[in-house]
Symmetry: C2
Subunit: 380 residues, 2 copies
């Protein structure tokens, strides 16, 4: 009997009751029965994003909302600042380029966080920068950028917008759209929302809505103006992903009504902190030791251990799927998830599996020491 | 006990076994377990589209694939011909306009089919037309355009592409992408595929792939070149809607391995023909009598019957949801679905419910005569 366990930082496991909610008979999106479902989703997303501003819902993966956050806010030739410290920072730059937006990139070593002072300098050097594109939690490296501090810098610098990829931050750790002055916040269903991929979310401040008025990039499916016009009526411009929204309704009940958003944040932070200590306890190095995100921990595969063999043993012999590195880190790190539907016992067992696979692949450490450390840290 | 029954031309009911397939634990899209699922979906879609060309899969609703079919094939200033005979024909024109494509529209009365000769004339008048955008089955009116005949005209007219919105045609009735010389065929999951909305499909011929090479419209999420590059490896450029693809795998088994595609076409045509006769038997008028699509039948609400009251009684007292008219037809017609997971007994019962609601709203006809007609026509 080999149980399969998914530990990637998206998709994450979907709770049984959410899967059952999605297995309900489908409703028509124009029928009166669906409207209360949509309304609860719309309001629940505002709570998770900590905003009074509207949060639009697209049938798309998270990248669709990132696309929207460029193609609906800027115009070809506009100047944007992009923080690029991993694969998802690179994606902001690629999207800007696709729409003819001029970009200044702050390149940050993979695994490090950007300094807010660097943002301030860049904005001083280029007063024509209209928007700052940032990754809250860089899932490719496990690093967390200081969104709150950067927002202060941007908000004090003039009429600019700050756009945050919070795909692995919203519902993961403290992130307050309104209180921190974030203009656009983007997320997706397969992360803290514990759903399959296929829904993208985008919160849009009043200031960002003003930017929409003058944007001239071409777009049709991702039309934020059309979406915000019908959103208060609990409608989307095009057919929504109804099944996933039935699941979102249930998942938001778990997050907001049962666990409570701040408790969700604390749980995730605690699992991440215990995992980091457990990895250190057996001599492993973290990729983002100074600015770790609670979403995922990226661990450097130690010298002498073959990355693909380690992953294969973990998956085929022990049943665990963790994430490989991306880009130049492929085969050099592994990434274990904390965001979403994971509790302390899931995490302790996953750490034990990682130890077993390391041992089977020639790594010498006291077997069980990581699981022991995590158990100690995660006890009441 | 009020049973709820959905009879809209998308979303359509999802078979129990497809809902259970989607309720499976989620897989990671990069994990080896998911690759055979993706491969079966990819090959199955080719069978439904009747093509050897690749069929890309987007996490989006069908409109996303329509957007792709403009933004990845043409350039601003290019000239396109659009057949506009309902809401979905209008959508092609809107998308072209959004991307700065010049359009010549052939306006067809809602409920009628375009004449292939009109296409031929328009292509003669404007030799610079590069692409013809067409709706196979115009869901807003229940009319079917003669795709095969139009493709002959276009294919004999030079190096032009024909792009077909087959959202309610693929898997519904005979539609052969390769044999008929269709360059681009677009569909979506919540129609003949019997899934919730959230997947969009786009088949792309070699000629269309040549058009992609020179297209300069801006796009990022809908990047057909990026998708076709990774499709043979059973991957998507961005995270796919994994849960829906688990359902697609199961739905394709029903369509292709169990019922058989041509039998699916015949079943749908037969349900549609019987419904048309049943409506006529009680004196009702069809919106598209001369060119009816098998996807849906649009019926004119008779004089003296209040459209919204008829719909409300049907939904609240009898449990049936049928579709209202769109645009200027709102409240003036109702549309009953045949595509997807409907059999003859579903259809006979729905016809009986329509009769009951008409009677309750003052329409005088021999109650049960429509159900009798359908029963007679649908017997073996």
């Amino acid at each position: 009997m080999l149980k399969r366990r998914l530990f990637t930082p998206g998709p994450v496991p979907v709770p049984d009751r959410v899967r059952l909610a999605m297995a309900q008979p489908i409703l028509n999106h124009r029928a009166p029965d669906f409207l209360p479902v949509f309304e609860r989703c719309r309001k629940g997303l505002q709570q998770v994003f900590q905003t009074e501003s509207p949060v639009a819902i697209f049938a798309a993966s998270g990248t669709g909302a990132m696309d929207t956050a460029v193609s609906n806010l800027l115009s070809p030739g506009d100047h944007a600042l992009v923080v690029r410290g991993g694969k998802f920072g690179e994606r902001w730059a690629e999207i800007c380029e696709a729409y003819g937006v001029r970009t200044t990139c702050i390149d940050v070593e993979w695994g490090r966080a950007v300094e807010p002072a660097e943002i301030a300098r860049a904005l001083e050097v280029s007063p024509d920068i209209l928007a700052v594109y940032l990754t809250a939690s860089e899932t490719s490296t496990g690093a967390r950028h200081p969104v709150k501090e950067i927002a202060e810098v941007v908000n004090h610098s003039g009429d600019r917008i700050i756009v945050v990829d919070a795909i692995t931050a919203a519902g993961v750790y403290e992130m307050r759209m309104d209180a921190w002055g974030l203009d656009v916040v983007v997320s997706g269903s397969q992360k803290a929302f514990m759903l399959p991929p296929g829904l993208a979310f985008i919160g849009v401040s009043e200031r960002a809505q003003r930017f929409m008025e003058t944007s001239t990039c071409s777009h049709y499916y991702f039309d934020l103006k059309a979406e915000l016009a019908v959103l208060p009526k609990d409608q989307t411009a095009f057919t929504p992903a109804i099944g996933l929204m039935l699941g979102l309704d249930e998942a938001l009940k778990i997050i907001l009504d049962e666990e409570g958003l701040e408790v969700t944040w604390e749980r995730t932070e605690r699992l991440a902190a215990a995992t980091r200590e457990a990895m250190r306890a057996i001599g492993l190095e973290l990729l983002a030791p100074d600015a770790p995100s609670a979403a995922t921990t990226a661990v450097v595969i130690p010298d002498g251990v073959d990355g693909p063999a380690f992953q294969k043993y973990l998956r085929e012999r022990l049943g665990y799927t963790v994430a490989d590195g991306q880009g130049h880190l492929k085969g050099k790190i592994f990434r274990i998830a904390h965001l979403g539907y994971f509790d302390r016992f899931d995490t302790i067992a996953a750490i034990a599996a990682i130890e077993m696979s390391l041992a089977a692949n020639g790594y010498v450490a006291k077997l069980g020491e990581a699981a022991r450390t995590a158990t100690e840290l995660l006890a009441d």
